[in-house]
């Protein structure tokens, strides 16, 4: 798993590249735990190169969502592959998290 960051004034975009499992999810958790993350209005997760997600990866997002919401930070996923989106659907997480097709729509939220 490789995580590339791009920050603008109010938005942090994380490009996830690879597979998010019980081994690699620690890296993502470390990124989202950084205090400065809560200073942005939006955290966008670009899932274009995310080829796999397990419950450990989902757990990282589940565990940070409330803290983001309390701090007024919007967490938005975009460019998600169908097989990754399917994992969110199996649990019903697609209705609890904001997932949009493209970066344009993610930016407009």
């Amino acid at each position: 798993m490789k995580i590339t960051q791009h920050a603008s004034a109010d938005t942090l975009t994380l490009l996830l590249d690879g597979e998010l499992d019980a081994s690699s999810s620690v890296l993502l958790d470390t990124e989202l735990t950084k205090p400065e993350t809560l200073q942005y209005q939006k955290v966008l997760i670009n899932c274009q190169k995310l080829n796999y997600i397990s419950s450990a990866g989902l757990g990282v997002f589940i565990s940070h969502l409330q803290q983001f919401q309390d701090a007024g930070v919007k967490l938005v996923f975009f460019n998600m592959q169908e097989k990754v989106h399917n994992v969110f659907e199996i649990l019903g997480l697609d209705t609890l998290m904001t997932i949009v097709p493209s970066e344009t729509e993610a930016t407009a939220i």
């Binding site: 597979e19 499992d21 019980a22 081994s23 958790d29 796999y52 397990s54 419950s55 450990a56 989902l58 757990g59 990282v60 589940i62 565990s63 940070h64 969502l65 409330q66 803290q67 169908e82 097989k83 399917n86 994992v87 199996i90 649990l91 019903g92 997480l93 609890l96």
Partner: protein, 141 residues
Amino acid sequence: MKNALRISCSRGNLKVVRDFVTDSLLNYHLSPLQLNQIVLAVDEIVANIIIHANGEDESQHLDLAIDVNDKAFGIEIFDNAANLYKPSSYHEPDLPEFIRQGKKGGVGMALVNRIMDRVEFTTQGTQNVCRLYKSLAQPEQ
């Protein structure tokens, strides 16, 4: 077709397990979603056994045996941990509550139970066996 794999109890081996399951299913023309779901279910069980049952003790190992044909996928996962998962302890996750609590774990078995057709845990002597089964029959049009 039967396939076997032995790994040490390291979470770094989860990718090895996913590749093993993927390779075993390559000739069965599954959709990308079906294939990913089966790989995910096995990954979840193996991660639980490595991390929770065996405490990531790399001196311990797991044995996996896959039996697959046109109609069904089956896998047996053997380990020797004293700390056996008890299916009776399973509760359906309350996701809004998990989010409110900032809970990191607890959804893996829900994925396994929703994906697989049969999930069994047994102990024979000192050996634990988890068996997962999934029909590969295509739904009738």
